[in-house]
Structure formats: C-alpha cells, structure tokens
Amino acid sequence: MELEELKEQIADSQVSYSRSELKEIFTLRTKRTVSKINRKMLIDALLMILTTALLVAATFIIGLRSRYVVSGQIIGFSLLIFVHYRIKSVLIKKAQNSDNGLQIGAEKLVRILNKYIYAYKIILPSFFSILTIKHYYDLTHNWSAVSDHWLIIIIAAVTGYIAANITAKMIYGKELNKLKKIIEAMDWTD
C-alpha cells in the first residue's frame, strides 16, 4: 500500500470525541492540571521568599560580622532564581506561540536560554567577589589589605560560578533537554 492510499483511509476514519467528552476532559484534566501548575509556582515563590527572609534574619540573629555581605549574596541569589524562573516561563510560552516553526523556534529558544545561562555564569561570580571585596575594604579601608584576602575572593567567585551552574541546571535542565529532543527530531542532516 502507498502513502496516498493510506491518506484516503485516514481522511475517511471517524475519530472524535463528543462535545460533552471534550468538556469533561477540559474540566477534569486541562483546568485542574493548569491550576496545579499555577499553585505549584506560587508555592515555590512563597517558599523562596520565606527561605530568603529566614536566612537573612539568621545572619542578623547570630550577629554575623559580615551579615550585610552574606545577606546581599542570599538576596542576590534569590533574585537570580526568580529572574531565571520568569524568563523561562515567558520564553517557553512565547516559543510555543511564535510564528517560527518547530526547528527554528527550538533552536532560537536554546540560543536565548544559553545566552542567559552564560550571562549568569559571569554575573553571579562577579557579584559574589565584588561583595567580598567590598566587605574587606569596609573593614580596613585599605586596598592592599583587601588583596591579602585574594584566596577568599577567589573562593567566593568559584562558589558563585557553581551556584549559577546548579541553578541553571535545576531551572532550565528539563526544558533544554526537551528542546534538544525537538531539534534532534527535526534535524535531517544525516
């Protein structure tokens, strides 16, 4: 049998849900799933705010000497996660509804997401190191004394880099894998 004959058979096949069945699927599955996703996002956001507030409060309660630096790092990190989260959901929504086809859309989105990931891999370590430098400068008001703490500054930068990597993987990992699957499926260059 040729594809053309199968085309006729498929055109004749009557596969459909009734309107009431569609309504049932929509009410019982579609709306519930979307509400569940929205609820989960709200809980995630609240948990993040609560965790950030608790960690910042803890630095003050225990009277940490570098509490402003540590609190700044915690707040910066939380903001980064929040921005990542928003970008991801907005971009994915846009990608699914854009005028680009599957392959171009997926490739474009992967490029954009990768750019953001690279940017955060640069921004977060820099932010951590600047805060550490500022902390030592505020203590001594002497740049040569700050340079004595070069190892701690490097550790702060490396910590920032690792944190950016883990965050990117946690937030974008699944979506990037799905997009790569689409690109692979649409790639006929063999």
Partner: protein, 161 residues
C-alpha cells in the same frame, strides 16, 4: 463556563481530528492516545491566551501538538504509570484501519520522530508551505525530506517482505 473557555472548546472541537492524527502517529495504544490528547489540550490551553492569530489556527495547533508529542510523550506515559488513570468514561476506540495498510503503518512506526512528523503532515494533505511553517524548515527542504522519507518507507517495506 466562561466565554474564552467555550471559544477554546469550539476550537478544539473543530480541529480535534488534527490532534487525533498527531496522537495516532506518536502512540501505539488507546490509553497512550487518550493521555497524549489530554496533554496536548493542556499545552494548547496554556498557550491559548498568548496565541496572537498571526498564523493559521491549524498551524499553531500542529506546532503545539507536535512539540508536545515529541518532547512530552515519555513523561505523559510515565505520569500515567505513576498515578491512577483518570476515569473519564470515554466511549472511544483507536481507529481500526484496513489490514492491508498494516505493513505500511508498521513501517511508519519505525521511522524517527521527525520523519513521522513529515508523514503526518503529508497524510493530512498540507502544502509544502504549511509544512515548512509548522516544522520550521524551508519549502524546498520539505520536498527533499518527504522524498527521502518515502524512499525510507519503501526500503522498510521491502525488508519486511
């Protein structure tokens, strides 16, 4: 039910054959078919508010359906295995096509996801332009790839004999 929801259901009702065709192409049994249909509806509903109607509704629906079928199918099946299946009491059966089409359908099932998308759109009599818009490749590339897939199918059919 709100107006937007009614409009969305009208849209699904009008174009449900398209979604069923995608489900049939990417699943092998009724349960998977139903689950994929429901997942596609979720993704379409999530994107409906942002759909700007710059492209044809069917083009948008094909994009979202294919995206969901290719990237979500494993998760959809896994989710069903992990959770009890929602009993919707749907009076629906997987379409039974003529038995002489079985070898061709088996050969199609052996194609990879991208090739199956080309076959699906060809079976739905989409023009090269529409296929290009849905898949995100050039019009000329569609022709080349369709011919390549046809050849692949022939080879698979011969090897099965």
């Amino acid at each position: 039910m709100a107006n937007t929801e009614e409009e969305f259901l009208d849209l699904i009702d009008q174009h449900q054959k398209l979604i069923h065709n995608v489900c049939r192409m990417y699943t092998g049994n009724v349960d998977d078919h139903q689950d994929l249909f429901q997942e596609i509806m979720v993704q379409l509903w999530k994107g409906y508010a942002n759909f700007e109607k710059r492209s044809k509704v069917s083009t948008w629906m094909y994009r979202v359906s294919l995206y969901t079928a290719i990237s979500h199918i494993k998760r959809v099946i896994k989710q069903r295995e992990a959770q009890p299946h929602l009993d919707l009491d749907l009076d629906y059966e997987q379409p039974s096509l003529e038995s002489d089409s079985a070898p061709l359908q088996e050969a199609i099932e052996r194609l990879d996801d991208g090739d199956r998308a080309i076959v699906l759109l060809h079976l739905d009599e989409k023009s090269y332009k529409e296929m290009a818009e849905i898949l995100g490749i050039s019009d000329s590339n569609v022709g080349v790839r369709l011919n390549r897939v046809k050849k692949k199918l022939k080879t698979l059919l011969i090897s099965e004999k």
